[in-house]
Symmetry: C2
Subunit: 177 residues, 2 copies
């Protein structure tokens, strides 16, 4: 099925040119398929901690030869953006803000740079229309959308009652304790 990754292991998703796709595979699978190293760093500090010596980009004082994100890093980055966006969505959105959010999520499901993830998200949206009437509604909808992915990956589901602490106020805000 086009909207699910192959079920056999190691599962390597290929890109449009038949080459292993970085953003559709974990770095471990990508490395085992290509035999190439995958430099996925967070910062020079992480590098130092990990004891990895990465080269700098020619002509640059501060940029290392960091590789493109794999499917996990892309996913974590994108969820960080999506949950934070939801947590900042207006409590009482205007009709335009509601339309904007619906359009945004629809287009997101077409431009997300991992094809099978995008198709999965498109299907989820089709079956579970985004709830955009309020910040609380959208944030819980997004949490449930993320949990549907967690279930597919056999990851623990996040307790959506904590969305506000996780994505808006933190855990030691006296008002949400």
């Amino acid at each position: 099925m086009a909207n699910e990754p192959p079920q056999t292991k190691p599962r390597i998703i290929l890109d449009e040119n038949g080459k292993p796709c970085r953003t559709c595979n974990t770095l471990e699978d990508f490395q085992s398929a290509t035999g190439r190293l995958f430099n996925n760093i967070k910062s020079a500090t992480s590098l130092a901690i990990a004891g990895v010596a990465l080269e700098k980009i020619p002509g640059s004082k501060t940029y290392y030869k960091e590789d493109p994100p794999d499917i996990r890093k892309l996913g974590a980055s994108s969820w960080t953006f999506l949950h934070t966006m939801s947590a900042k969505y207006p409590q009482q959105p205007t009709p335009r803000e509601k339309d904007d959010m619906k359009s945004f999520l629809n287009i997101f499901s077409r431009v997300y740079p991992c094809d099978w993830c995008a198709k999965d998200f498109e299907k989820y949206i089709r079956e579970n229309a985004p709830k955009v009437e309020s910040r609380e509604e959208l944030s819980r909808w997004m949490c449930e959308a993320h949990n549907s992915v967690n279930r597919k990956l056999n990851k623990e589901e996040f307790d959506c009652n904590f969305w506000q602490q996780r994505w808006k106020d933190g855990w030691d805000d006296p008002e949400t304790k």
Copy 2:
């Protein structure tokens, strides 16, 4: 000006309720303004390396009490998504794909969850219309957009000739070496 952060230091951006805004400030500024700790972790592994003991969320086996992203983590996550999206944009997009991308970037500049960053991006788009005719064009446009932010933050500009290695193929792909 609404689209620029205050120029005095320490600069603390407040949210709609007059409280320090997490996603509009660095974690250091947020901490100094609120006196509250800010648990911005990447993974349990990073935690162990850093020697930090974070509590788990009540009832959860795997989720720690990680705090909402600050402006830097939100920015890095969002750029990771945007650059990767650009690097996967079609080489010869259809009219619908071009319209999608233009709409997406316009809405993005309204829903980005840091108000002054969003207004800055909106202004940038107004003065530098997104180039959506091809993957190469969009990826370079995105790189320039990021550099305009790098300049404001007094960070080194990224050499956009390397967009493909950084966001698509990696640094050791024989075809782009």
